[in-house]
Symmetry: C7
Subunit: 95 residues, 7 copies
């Protein structure tokens, strides 16, 4: 199944939260920090959005930091993804 | 009965929620996940919307992911449909 | 009495809710579904609305689906009408 | 005293609510329907409003239907008037 | 002390509420109607406001009706004034 | 330490509230009126703000009336300042 | 790890709150004032943001005052950063 986002939307996949803290203690799910980093899976074509020309700046494979709570969570082929607007992507991370 | 959406509106029909989970247990309605996928049934002509030119990117028969709670539910010929703006369609899915 | 809507406004008259369900039981008013279909009675001239040119797409006699709660209810010559903006009309229905 | 509304504003005077129902019963004030019809008393010059050119479409003496709760009530020479924007006038009525 | 309002702002001074009703009864302060009429004391130069050119239509000495609650109350030389935008002035009154 | 405000922002320093009322009674802090007058300390360069060209109209040393609650309070070198947008300055006062 | 902010975004690092007050008393964390000063770590390329051209005015190494609560906190390489829009930076400070 392939998801083709429309307009300025981007499909991302969140990085798994680390299972352990620095001290090696395994945390129960609720105590884990909400991850805010993700990999870009699909990128929309950009174009006119609300009357403004949007040029896509991220590309498939980019590691990105995104605005918590932004976008819509979807499930496809048993995996969780987020579809959000490029403007909800704050930065590209070079590891 | 034929529904011709105006402007940038699209008529979609939600996919039925799966009646069973992976383990084969039949779930009561309230426990089922709200489906967010639909098929495009009718597409408006696009044109000027709030002063911006909107070009329709989806077409009849497309499988789409749409923004939960977006649009208006209507019933026609005993079937349930949703009329929403194209901007509430997040992505086209190729199965 | 003739009502001439201004700008992009349209006067519509709601279809009566069906008095009986499929099984033939007459429902008390509160249990009836709020009808969302109506006939167009009068159409404004369109023109500049909030700085955007609006072209009227509906015409007198059209059967339309409109956004629930949109517009203002008025009573004229003992009949109930709704005055709403064309942008609150979702679709034209061909029966 | 003469009131000259600014920009796209219009001074209207509400029609008196009918003192009796069809059956001839005099209703106490609270039970009377809030009238939504009025006569245009003064019309502003129009012109640039929030960066958009507004052309006045109503004229003194027009009978109009206006949006309930819109505008500001004022009292002048012992009479009650409403000053509202032309965009809060829904339609002109020809009796 | 002279107050020079910026942009499309206007300094006004409210008319005193009448101390007596028509029947000659002196009302305690809380029962008096909030006055909505004022005299224009100073007028800003107009010009670009939020990207729109604003031309000042009121002048010093004008009697105006203004939108209740609009603007900021200030005290200068022991007198109370209101500074508001011209768009909060509804009409000019000719007594 | 020098504060250089960006865009259409202005650094102001509030006038101290008078320690005594006219009758010479010293008021506890909570009873004192919130001062709304200030002196301009630094002025930003203006320029494009949200797509609109902003020209700075206030200059260092101006006595101004500003919108209560507007802007951000900061502390620098033991002094309290407010940084606000020029549009939150209502008027220039000539004492 | 390098963070490249998109559009008009800026990565900043807050200055540590002073551990002692003027009198030399060490304050518990909750009583310390929320610092509002930061150093600019990375600067986005600017460009079209919501249809407006944004030119970046801050540069890496600038000491800035920023709007409390603005932006998103992130953690990278064990350090806390904030990513915010340049418009949430109030001023550049020259120490």
């Amino acid at each position: 199944m392939k998801i083709r986002p429309l307009a300025d939307r981007v499909v991302i996949k969140k990085f798994e939260a680390e299972e352990k803290t620095a001290s090696g203690i395994v945390l129960p799910t609720a105590a884990k920090e909400q991850p805010q980093m993700a990999e870009v899976i699909e990128v929309g074509p950009g174009g006119m959005v609300d009357g403004n020309e949007v040029k896509m700046e991220v590309k498939v494979g980019d590691k990105v930091i995104f605005s918590k709570y932004a976008g819509n969570e979807i499930k496809a082929d048993g995996e969780n993804y987020i579809i959000l607007r490029q403007s909800d992507i704050l930065a590209i991370v070079e590891l």
